[in-house]
Symmetry: D2
Subunit: 243 residues, 4 copies
C-alpha cells in the first residue's frame, strides 16, 4: 500500500497488517514504527516508481508477509505526480513523468496486486478483515478532478489522471467477474486542496477542504462493500466547495 | 422516509426513530410494527404522491415526532415509477405519472426535508446519530441506470430519472454551503434487477444482483460521511454485472 | 418546427418548406411572411404547449403541407421554460411548467414527428433536401447546460432539461435502427446567454456569446450527417467562454 | 496532418494545401501524389512517433510550405495504437507504446501546431479557407470509445485514449481564449470498427459501420465552425450501432 498516512492508520487500527511502499525511507520507517504500535506494519522503500522497482517491492513484501499467513485483501495506489503549468512550458520529460507515475506505475502495481488476489479464495471471517463480503480483494486508486475534467493548466496532469481512470474502469470490468473490486475516487480535489492550503481562511474551515480522516473512512467503507453492490468510482468534496 | 425495507431496518437498529411514508397502509403498518421492536417507528400512509399528500404526511410526522425531541437528520426518497415500453405505445398519462412520481414528488419531499434541516444546528453527539460530522442532515435519493443513460424502451422512465438527477445535483450544490448533504445513487440497476429476478440462475447468484442489505449499508456509510468529504452521486452494481 | 428564427431562415434558404409552431401568432406570422420570400413557409399558432395543442398543430400542418408532396425530413424542438430561482422559492406550479414545456411537450412533439418519419422511405435526392444520407429524418432538440449539470438556482430548470436529455437519448437508441436521427445540443449555454446579454462588454464580443447564425449552421450540418456516422449530442460554446 | 485518407482528400478538394506525416513512406507518397491532382500536397515520412521525429517533420513542413504563404489553419492527429488484450498479458512495453503513440505523440504534435497558430492572426477570406470564422486554427484529434469508457480488454488502450481526452479538454480550455479551436471525436467506434469488418453482413450494411467519407464531412464541419459556437467533443456512430 502506498501510504496515505491517515488511511494506513485507520486500516492498522482495524487489524490489517500494513505494508508501505514509498520513496523516502525515513518518513516511511517513521510511519511503519508508529503503525507497529497498533499491529504489524513494515516499510518497503523503492528508488523510483518504475515497474521493476514496484515488482521488487512486492517480492520483498511476500518474503516479509508470506501469502499463506498474510493474504493480501486491500491495496491503495496513492502515487500522484501533479503538474500545473501552461501547456507550452511543459517539457516532454515532465509529460513522461506524469504518464509514468500516474499510469505506468499504477499499471505495474495493479498487476502485482491482481496476481495475488487471483491466487486467493474469497476472504474468510477468520482472517480478521471483511470476511463475508464474497471478495478476493479491493484495489483502491486515488484519482483527482483532473481525471474527470481537463482545465487550463492541466494538460500533462489531466493526461495522466484521465489515463489512470481509463485503466481503472477497464480493470473494474475485467475482474469484477472474479470478485475483485477495483475503485477510484474520481473527483477528489487534490489539485484544489493544494490551493486551499495557501488560503488561511480555507485552512481553518473544516468544511472547505478535504480531511484525510474523512477520506480514509470512506476508503474503509468501500473495502467493506459486499460483492452484490460495488462502487467503481466515487466523488468526494468538501461541503463548502463550489463545483 | 419512504421505506426501503432493509434500509429502514438498518437505521432502526442503529437507533434512529423511523417515520415511514407510503401508499398501502397495510404493508406500512406491518413494517412499522416490526421496526418498533428495535426502537421508535411509525407509518404515515398517503393516498398518492402529490405534493399536497406529501405535505400532509410531514405535518403528521411533526405531530408524532416533534422537531424538538426528534430532529430530522436523515431522509430517503425511494419512490419510483418504472415504465419500459416502446415509445409510441406510451401515453401522455403514463409520461405524467413518471414525471409526477420521479420528479415532482421528490421536489415536494425535498422541500419538506430541507426546510426542517435548515431549522436545525449541526447534529450533536447527544442525539444518538452521527453527531460530529458537522451536518444538518442527509437527504438520499434512489436513482436508476435510466437516470444516467437512456435506452430503447426507457423514454418515459429515463425522462423521469434524469429529471430527478438534475434536481438532486442542483440541491447538492445549493445546500452544501449550509452543510446539508444531498446524494443520489446514480447507477443502481433497479431496472435490471427487475429482469434479474425472472432468471433463476441470476436469482441464485448473490454477486449477480443487488442485495438490499448491501445497499442499506452503503446508504448508512453516506449518512456517516463528514462535511469535509461528501459524495453527491454513487454507483452500485453487482460484481458479476456486465456494464 | 418550433421557430428558432435563424435556423428557420437558413433552412428556408436551403430550399426546405418551413412549418412554424408557436404561441404568439403575430411574431409567427411575421416570420412566416419573411420566410415566404425564400420559399414556402407557414405559421401554426397554438395556445399552449399541451399535447393536445401540439397534436392539433400537426393536423393543420398535414392539411397545409400534405405528406405526399411535402414529406417531413427535419424537425426542431426549441421550446424552453427557463427558471432560475432559489429552490425554496419555486412553487409546485413552476416546477410543473418546467416539466410540461421541457419534457411533456417534447414527448408529444416527438410522437408526431416520429410517426411521420416512419411512414416515409429514405429521403430521395429528388426531394431537394439531403437525399443520399439514408435517413428517414432528423429530429433536433435545443438543450442547455442545465441538462448536463445542475447548479445553485436550477433545481426546476435542470429537472426539466435533464428530463429532456433522458428522453432524447432513449429516442436516439430506439429509432436509430430505423434510420431516424435524434440529436440534442447538450451544452448550449442558453442559461448563460441570458446573463451575457446584460453585460455590454460581452454583448460586443462575438466570441463571448453564442451567435444564432453559428448555431443554425451546426444544426444544418447535423441534418446533413449520413446514417453511417451520426451524432446524438453536441456541445456548443463561445471560444471565450470559461467552462 | 496525420493522414486520414478520406479526410485528406476532402480537404484537398476544398482547396487546402495538405502536408501528410506518417511512418511508411510508400503509402504516404502514393497518397501525396493522388492529392496533388487536386492541389498542393506533400508527404513527410517519419521513423517513429517520438517528439523528436514530430518536431523534425514540422521543420521540414515549414521549409516546404512556408508560414508566410501557407499559414497552418487545420491539423488532424489521427495516430492510434490500439491494443485489446487481457490485462495480465499486456507487457510494460505495450503499455508504453500506447502512452507514447496516443498521448506523448499528440502532446508533441499539439505543441508544434499551437505554436504555429499563435503566430497567426485570424484567418482571412483571401486565404481560401474558412476566413470569417474568427479563428487562428482548428486542431482535431481522432478519439475512440475507449477514451470515454474502459472495457474488459482495454486497460492499456483506454489508458492511452483517456489520456488523450484529458489532454485535449485541457487544450480546448487553455487556448479557446486565443480563438484556437481544439476538438476530439470522443466516441468514434474505431475499436468496434475493427470487429465490424470481420463480419460480412456488417461490412455490407452502410448504416452499421462508420464510413470514412461521412467522418471527413463532419471534420470539415468542425473546421468551419465559427468562434461563437465551438464544439470540443463529438460522438459519431452508425445509425444501426447498439450502444
Amino acid at each position: 500500500m502506498f501510504p496515505d498516512v491517515e488511511c494506513s492508520r485507520l486500516f492498522a487500527r482495524k487489524g490489517y497488517k500494513v505494508a508501505l511502499i514509498s520513496r523516502g525511507p525515513e518518513s516511511l520507517n517513521k510511519l511503519a514504527a508508529e503503525l507497529s504500535q497498533h499491529g504489524e506494519a513494515a516499510g518497503f522503500p523503492i528508488q523510483d516508481y518504475s515497474p521493476d522497482s514496484i515488482r521488487s517491492a512486492f517480492v520483498a513484501i511476500r518474503t516479509h508477509f508470506p501469502s499463506s499467513s498474510s493474504p493480501l485483501r486491500a491495496a491503495l495506489f496513492n502515487v500522484g505526480y501533479g503538474i500545473w503549468k501552461p501547456f507550452l512550458e511543459i517539457t516532454d520529460e515532465e509529460l513522461h513523468k506524469s504518464l509514468d507515475a500516474n499510469v505506468a506505475a499504477a499499471f505495474a502495481f495493479s498487476r502485482e496486486v491482481i496476481t495475488e488476489f487471483l491466487k486467493l479464495g474469497f476472504e474468510d471471517p477468520s482472517e480478521g478483515g471483511q470476511g463475508g463480503s464474497r471478495k478476493r480483494g479491493t484495489l483502491l486508486f486515488t484519482g483527482a478532478t483532473a481525471g474527470v475534467r481537463g482545465n487550463v493548466t492541466t494538460s500533462a496532469f489531466a493526461a495522466g489522471k484521465h489515463g489512470l481512470r481509463g485503466l481503472v474502469q477497464s480493470l473494474a470490468k475485467e475482474f469484477g467477474k472474479q470478485n475483485i473490486h477495483t475503485v477510484i475516487d474520481g473527483v477528489i480535489l487534490t489539485d484544489r486542496t493544494k490551493i486551499a492550503f495557501s488560503d488561511p481562511d480555507r485552512e481553518a474551515n473544516l468544511d472547505g477542504r478535504l480531511d484525510p480522516d474523512a477520506i480514509a473512512k470512506t476508503y474503509l467503507g468501500l473495502v467493506q462493500q459486499d460483492s452484490s453492490a460495488l462502487t467503481w468510482e466515487i466523488d468526494l468534496r468538501p461541503a463548502h466547495e463550489k463545483w
